[in-house]
């Protein structure tokens, strides 16, 4: 009996190899259609399934990437992260800065065919501000007192004070404009947006397929017929899927994987990220309350060394602000290079010449380099008589402690934003909703952030946030280390995709398969 099965399996196995070896290479060719012609279905490899399809609650990278292609926002970012019109064609701030008037684009429809107008905007903004919807972007609208719609194509926001960061804050998918007829329950199952693509099919934990939205409002229509986000949990497995032609585009986090993928038919583009790695210091705990102790830590760390040892030199040493338009200069900080003598001097000033001990939480598994960073920081600080006790936690435990502000120090990778106010005021103003986590605020910072928000002139804003950065670093609120890269892998057929510093896949709308 067993012999019979053996030969059957043997034949099946041999057959399957023989079949694949001829079917596989032709696979992508059949889906891409004729050479040089637009269209086709692009397969994007992603490591996990979106955790929600409801844009107001989506913070997971994979979810944001998918939803950005389905939903529309009032404003958008271009490839250099400047704020450009989206569903709002234009906007105007009143002289006193207390009124923002938005003119909406006309002729826009949702994928279910209903028309987009000011009613959808007022309902969306009001619901985002309502606490019970638990929309994560609620705090970005804290300056909005009321939302009015004088006509179908105009929306007027009354503000409690000038808010220069508001247009940028409106550009994230957490501020997606939903149809006023839709509910969260409905959209969780059947997304309905105004974006360049529309939801077509979902197979849980396997794939999400989008189809081109033919009624998309943009002057340039999307060229692909569709995009499939295919879940392949392991980044190395995505590389092999690209090598065998089953996947054409993927974003990698692990520098090691990106290095091995480069070459052959795969091109890797490196984009500096807005996300930043930092050693967060909680100034409300123990010895860290003394600015001299914090400065001693800041002088004892060679950031380049952290980058080199923990992240294979893949990234750039950074100051607080990572957005291209407002970028901090890492040379403008106390001890721009490591200075152990200075560190000892600061410890002396703090009255701790014998050294201090700091406990740091580190997350295991949330991102690739965390533990290595912690270990390098520990080794460097030990040479300055500063003991860094590492507590390595499973990512759920790390998030719990981090959210509660229950740590002395944290080795963290934080998300960056294109606007410095959106990025840091929630952390470093005394009333910011993440101030408990940041563990630092000061009257100077409160004043500077208020000033930055009230100023619309770009050059003046840049100067103000320069001062914010200096204030943060001179007080060593945190120790900013480096920003990594996003690695966008594409196969040779993919053209027209523009990687962004935010890791966004919004340029799928200009992508073609040749």
């Amino acid at each position: 009996m067993s012999r019979g099965i053996f030969s059957a399996i043997g034949t099946a196995a041999a057959l399957s190899i023989a079949l694949t070896s001829c079917s596989s290479p032709s696979g992508p060719a059949t889906t891409t259609g004729a050479t040089g012609k637009a269209g086709g279905n692009l397969v994007v490899g992603v490591t996990s399934d979106p955790d929600t399809l409801f844009p107001w609650k989506a913070t997971q990278f994979q979810a944001v990437n998918v939803l950005q292609n389905i939903y529309g926002t009032l404003t958008e970012f271009d490839k250099d992260l400047n704020v450009v019109p989206g569903l709002a064609e234009s906007w105007e701030t009143s002289k006193d800065g207390r009124t923002l008037t938005l003119t909406l684009r006309q002729g826009v429809t949702y994928s279910d065919g209903s028309a987009f107008d000011s009613k959808d905007v007022t309902s969306s903004l009001n619901k985002i501000m309502e606490e019970s919807t638990a929309a994560v972007a609620r705090a970005s609208l804290s300056s909005v007192k009321s939302v009015d719609a004088p006509d179908a194509h105009t929306v007027v926001l009354k503000l409690s004070g000038p808010d220069a960061a508001l247009p940028a804050n409106l550009a994230t998918v957490n501020m997606a404009m939903l149809s006023s007829d839709d509910t969260e329950e409905k959209l969780n199952a059947a997304p309905n947006g105004t974006g360049p693509f529309a939801m077509k099919k979902r197979v849980a934990s396997q794939s999400i397929t989008l189809a081109r939205n033919d009624t998309y409002w943009g002057s340039e229509k999307p060229k692909l017929d569709g995009v499939e986000f295919r879940v392949i949990p392991d980044e190395s497995s995505i590389v092999s899927a690209m090598q065998s032609g089953n996947v054409q585009l993927a974003i990698f986090n692990d520098p090691l994987v990106a290095q091995t993928a480069q070459g052959g038919s795969i091109t890797i583009a490196k984009t500096p990220q807005l996300n930043y790695h930092a050693l967060q210091l909680n100034t409300r705990r123990g010895d860290l309350g003394d600015v001299n102790v914090r400065l001693a830590i800041q002088c004892a760390i060679d950031r380049k060394q952290v980058l080199d040892t923990a992240a294979l030199s893949e990234g750039e040493v950074t100051g607080p602000i990572t957005a291209p338009a407002f970028k901090s200069d890492p040379q403008q900080r106390p001890c721009p290079t490591r200075d152990l003598a200075k560190a000892a001097e600061y410890l002396g000033k703090a009255g701790k010449p014998g050294g201090v001990t700091v406990k740091a939480i580190v997350s295991q598994g949330e991102y690739a380099t965390s533990v290595n960073e912690g270990q390098n920081l520990k080794a460097q600080l030990a040479e300055a008589k500063i003991t860094l006790d590492l507590e390595v936690l499973e990512s759920g435990a790390f998030v719990d402690r981090w959210v509660a502000g229950d740590f002395e120090a944290a080795v963290a990778l934080n998300g960056g934003r294109p606007d410095p106010d959106g990025m840091y005021s929630r952390y470093f103003t005394s009333k910011g909703n993440l101030n408990k986590v940041a563990g630092y605020s000061s009257p100077e910072l409160d004043k500077l952030f208020a000033e930055g928000k009230a100023t619309t002139d770009q050059a003046a804003r840049k100067e103000i946030y320069g001062k914010v950065g200096a204030e943060l670093e001179n007080n060593a609120a945190w120790i900013w280390l480096f920003t990594g890269y996003t690695y966008t892998g594409t196969t040779a057929q993919v053209k027209g995709f523009v990687p962004m510093a935010s890791g966004s896949l919004q340029y799928l709308r200009t992508t073609t398969l040749n």
């Binding site: 053996f6 606490e131 092999s240």
Partner: protein, 323 residues
């Protein structure tokens, strides 16, 4: 009298099964809640810090986390009896529906792997036992040592990169096809994962076969049969293997049970949407309903496989039947 006894045995057996399943239910429920973080922080990550108390309460109500643990446990268990396994907040699908998709996939993978393992393990084990301390015995030792010591994830990634990079053979990079949708593609997709799993299981099967065959061969009835002139082939298959089957079946049943819940790593690497991956994703996302119900289904499958193994060697071995 006999009937009552037999009846009692069945009752005891069923009571034992229910007890085991209840124990599993309590354990998984408690352990899941002992893991730091809940569905809210799992979904929002560090953004959860920005939630106001009112927002958090609203979310807790939505996920049913505002109720007492006692209430949560019994309402979940009660619902399972009515066929309501709970819902995945992530995919908006019922856990029953998810399980009905993923369980057959893992089942197929397990069967495929076991068949591969038996095809390798049993003949090699018999070969090794045919002459102890010979080169063929040594070969058996090497194969089983390799099977036991090479980690599945290593073998899996190595095979995947060799096949994908050198031959362009990577059916697992495509969307998953079930046996009914596309049998050929399904076979291709199952081939590498089953090879990896089968290789790991072949080792214990090989060892068990070798030991069992050696033991059976030392029995008097084999000598008698040989003396009566039974041809060597028939002797090996009918007399030796036939009598060595009980430990092999036990080992196979045990491995099969493990496979139903334990193929996680291999399913993850080859992106096979089986039940192991369903649990893993559930744990990562702290989807209590998904993990609890799926683990219970796996436990049930394990218990049933054990029962079937028992029944099977009653059939094979008259001695067990008699006792």
């Amino acid at each position: 009298m006999r009937n009552v006894l037999a009846h009692n045995r069945v009752v005891r057996r069923v009571a034992g099964m229910i007890g085991t399943l209840f124990g599993v239910a309590v354990l998984v429920f408690v352990m899941l809640r002992a893991i730091p973080g809940d569905q809210i922080t799992a979904g929002l990550g560090t953004e959860a810090a920005a939630l106001t108390p009112v927002q958090r309460e609203a979310l807790e109500r939505y996920y049913g986390l505002d109720q007492s643990l006692f209430t949560q446990f019994f309402s979940w268990l009660g619902n399972m009896f009515t066929g309501n396994f709970g819902y995945s907040a992530r995919s908006q699908q019922s856990v029953l529906e998810l399980t009905l998709h993923s369980l057959p996939v893992t089942f197929e993978l397990a069967v495929f792997s076991i068949v591969l393992a038996l095809l390798v393990g049993v003949p090699l084990g018999m070969l090794a036992a045919s002459r102890t301390n010979s080169p063929r015995d040594f070969l058996g030792q090497v194969v089983s040592l390799a099977g036991l010591s090479v980690p599945a994830f290593l073998l899996a990634t190595t095979l995947l990169s060799i096949f994908a990079a050198s031959f362009g053979f990577n059916p697992n990079g495509q969307g998953f096809a079930t046996l009914f949708e596309n049998p050929l593609l399904n076979m291709e997709q199952m081939f590498l994962p089953a090879l990896v799993l089968g290789f790991g299981i072949a080792a214990p099967i090989l060892r068990t076969t070798r030991t069992a065959v050696l033991e059976v061969r030392s029995n008097d009835f084999i000598h008698t049969a040989r003396a009566k002139g039974v041809p060597p082939g028939r002797l090996q298959v009918k007399h030796v293997l036939g009598n060595a089957l009980v430990p092999i079946v036990t080992m196979t049943g045990l491995q099969f049970g493990y496979l139903l819940g334990g193929a996680v790593v291999v399913e993850q690497i080859f992106s096979v949407p089986g039940i192991g991956r369903q649990v893993l994703l559930g744990i990562q996302q702290k989807e209590y309903a998904v993990v609890q119900s799926t683990v219970l289904v796996i436990a049930l499958a394990f218990v049933i496989v054990n029962l079937l193994t028992d029944v099977l060697y009653r059939v094979i071995d008259p001695r067990v039947r008699a006792s």
